[in-house]
């Protein structure tokens, strides 16, 4: 019952956010491109334009137009890209797999490295390795993603020639999806971009996990677990880790947005054929429908991932699960 109520609330919230985003998207459309520009040439007279505007509903009140925009959007119609002359949604979704795989690879790197490294730094704070990790992490945080990307290209592609410098390599088509995970060339192309994308988030999470872990290790319940004579491994992984992960999950939810923002930078440097690269091109070409489609798709991704993160949090934290109120 409570879970259901929680879900309903969460979905309600998601719909609210999407409404706001769509409103932003619509205002952009309303103020930016003139749809007539693409439809008719320069030769059409002002009177004819006005007639056309009326017929297309461009002179309707704001909210009528917005409602129409919303209705179309829900049906998957976000307008036609000026440049590609194709439905904007289709153009964007075509690029979705590339971005998704990049984010997935970077997320895997972040999770697989930050958790053990953070734990290690928390339990052996004086160890030379831990100090090294902490020192490197502050340097890592201080290097902007696009610089990591540039210098990794410079080092590994230009100087050493180990890695391809741009693009996605060979991809395999699986229905409407295309993946670089299945070819050696595709994986090789993924290494540098994924590393660059994870480069800021990784030290951030190492530090976060370390900090939370050290705080948890000082709590009375960890001391009690130690006083019970439990094996240090159990104290660490069963008692401390779960409590450490609660705030980490919350931050993770917030950071997903930043990660997607960084894909724009990474994809630009590596010319990775994903949504971010496409978006920047669209910005330069003032391809309004594509810009709006990108904003809405990205908004949707945020909302979905945040909802999933919330559900995971609820699952891990029994206090929310039962009472529904943070205790």
């Amino acid at each position: 019952m409570e879970t259901l109520a929680f879900l309903i609330r969460r979905v309600g919230q998601a719909v609210m956010v999407m409404l706001i985003i769509s409103l932003i998207g619509f205002s952009i459309q309303d103020n930016l491109g003139d749809p007539l520009r693409e439809l008719v040439g320069q030769s059409v007279s002002e009177a004819e334009r006005e007639a056309l505007r009326d017929r297309m509903g461009l002179n309707d009140p704001f909210f009528v137009q917005y409602a129409r925009f919303l209705g179309n959007a829900v049906q998957g119609d976000l307008g036609t890209s000026y440049f590609f002359k194709k439905p904007a949604l289709e153009v964007i979704l075509r690029k979705f797999p590339a971005t998704f795989e990049l984010v997935l690879a970077a997320t895997l790197i972040i999770v697989l490295v930050s958790v053990p490294a953070g734990i290690f730094c928390a339990i052996k704070p004086k160890h030379i390795g831990a100090r090294l990790i902490m020192g490197l992490s502050i340097v890592g945080i201080s290097i902007p993603v696009f610089l990591t990307a540039i210098f990794s290209i410079y080092l590994f592609s230009i100087e050493l020639g180990w890695m391809p410098s741009f693009g996605r390599g060979d991809v395999v088509e699986l229905g409407w999806w295309n993946t670089g995970f299945l070819t050696g060339d595709g994986l090789e192309h993924l290494v540098l971009p994924a590393f660059a994308l994870s480069s800021i988030m990784l030290p951030l999470f190492i530090r976060l996990i370390r900090g939370e872990m050290m705080e948890v290790m000082r709590t009375e319940y960890v001391r009690f677990a130690q006083a019970k004579g439990l094996h240090p491994r159990r104290v660490l992984f069963v008692h401390a880790l779960r409590n450490t992960l609660l705030p980490v999950i919350t931050v993770g939810g917030v950071q997903i947005g930043t990660l997607i923002a960084y894909t724009i930078l990474t994809e630009t440097v590596f010319q990775w054929p994903g949504m971010g690269f496409l978006f920047l091109e669209a910005v330069n070409r003032v391809d309004t429908p594509l810009i709006i489609a990108y904003i809405i798709i990205v908004g949707l991704i945020f909302v979905i991932t945040n909802t999933i993160v919330d559900l995971i949090y609820t699952y891990v934290n029994p206090m929310v699960r039962i009472s529904g109120v943070k205790g």
């Binding site: 956010v17 706001i20 952009i28 103020n31 930016l32 502050i138 340097v139 945080i141 201080s142 290097i143 902007p144 993603v145 696009f146 610089l147 540039i150 210098f151 290209i153 410079y154 230009i158 410098s165 705030p247 919350t250 931050v251 939810g253 917030v254 950071q255 997903i256 947005g257 930043t258 990660l259 997607i260 923002a261 960084y262 724009i264 930078l265 630009t268 440097v269 978006f279 920047l280 910005v283 330069n284 003032v286 309004t288 810009i291 904003i295 990205v298 908004g299 945020f302 945040n306």
Partner: protein, 306 residues
């Protein structure tokens, strides 16, 4: 005992004196600020003045390699601009945008945080929900989209003139939730303390309690996040300029210098990108190290989700 003596003896100063990293970061920052302020006098040329640029001098390698022109110690970019001068001026622009953007963030964020924490109830819920949404959309994303739209709306020419102002405004507005949440969290924590009740028992007005009693106690976390926020703002500016949404090449910031050199890195002119990058990294690192130290030294209970 003088105030100065008290400051010197305080735990805070003691920890600062004992920490070489903190001292170094502070010195580096001081050097950067001085260099940027004195740029018009110490820079070999004025990189903004097209008359001083000569395309004949373009892509000169750094002088110390032995093959470059001694007039350009760090080499030149593709416009023939002296890199050292461009970096000195660019650092100034980056710092300017960073600091003003953070001031704007602080003004908006602290006000909203105070109001939300003080009024509570629906006002609080509304602002915090808004902050949640904006944070989860990521500040860089908000900035990219906003600037992309502005650029499309104004056209590239007019946008270039407005760029510095737009960057400050957009980065300033995009990051207010950090301040708002931090301030709200400390206001909520302080509001429950008994010294506030003591002030109420005296009969002091709510405004006086807020500003005289609660706010001074909420300042420590504001100070701590400010350092890191300046670093973040500078990174954001650099990222936006790198994407071509920020400072134009004619009045380059560090980010736009990096952008202008990026394409030449493949053809061997590594210095155009590398030198501004190193400066940018050192600058951010110094801010981050200082922020880290401040956090440890003052040890405030910061809002967790920063």
């Amino acid at each position: 005992m003088s105030t100065l003596q008290r400051v010197w003896d305080s735990n805070f100063a003691y920890q600062f004196r004992r920490d070489p990293v903190a001292i170094c970061s502070a010195l580096v920052l001081l050097a950067f600020v001085l260099a940027a302020l004195l740029a018009p006098w110490i820079a070999p040329q004025n990189p903004y003045d097209p008359l001083q640029l000569d395309l004949m001098n373009s892509k000169e390698p750094p002088a110390f390699g032995g093959q470059g022109n001694p007039d350009f110690p760090l080499g030149t970019d593709d416009q023939g601009r002296d890199l050292l001068s461009a970096i000195l001026y660019g650092t100034g622009i980056s710092l300017l945008i960073g600091i003003f953007a953070v001031m704007l963030q602080a003004v908006i964020g602290v006000s909203i945080g105070l109001v939300a924490g003080y009024m509570g109830g629906r006002v609080d819920s509304f602002f915090m929900r808004l902050a949640d949404i904006q944070l989860s959309l990521s500040t860089l994303m908000v900035a990219i989209i906003a600037l992309a739209v502005f650029q499309a709306a104004f056209g590239p020419q007019r946008y270039e003139d407005l760029a510095i102002f737009m960057l400050i405004v957009v980065i300033g507005i995009a990051e207010w939730p950090q301040y708002a949440r931090t301030v709200r969290a400390s206001v909520l924590a302080e509001r429950e303390k008994e010294y506030v009740d003591a002030a109420r028992v005296i009969g002091l007005s709510r405004a006086r309690i807020m500003f005289r009693h609660i706010l001074p106690n909420a300042l420590t976390p504001i100070l701590v996040i400010s350092t890191v926020q300046v670093a973040n703002a500078i990174v954001s500016e650099a990222a936006l300029s790198f994407l071509g949404l920020g400072m134009p090449v004619t009045t380059p910031s560090l980010g736009s210098l990096i952008r202008s050199g990026f394409e030449f890195i493949f053809s061997g002119q590594w210095w155009i990108t590398t030198f501004p990058s190193v400066v940018l990294i050192v600058l951010i690192l110094a801010f981050n190290l200082l922020g880290d130290w401040l956090r440890d030294a003052l040890n405030p209970k910061l809002y967790k989700e920063t």
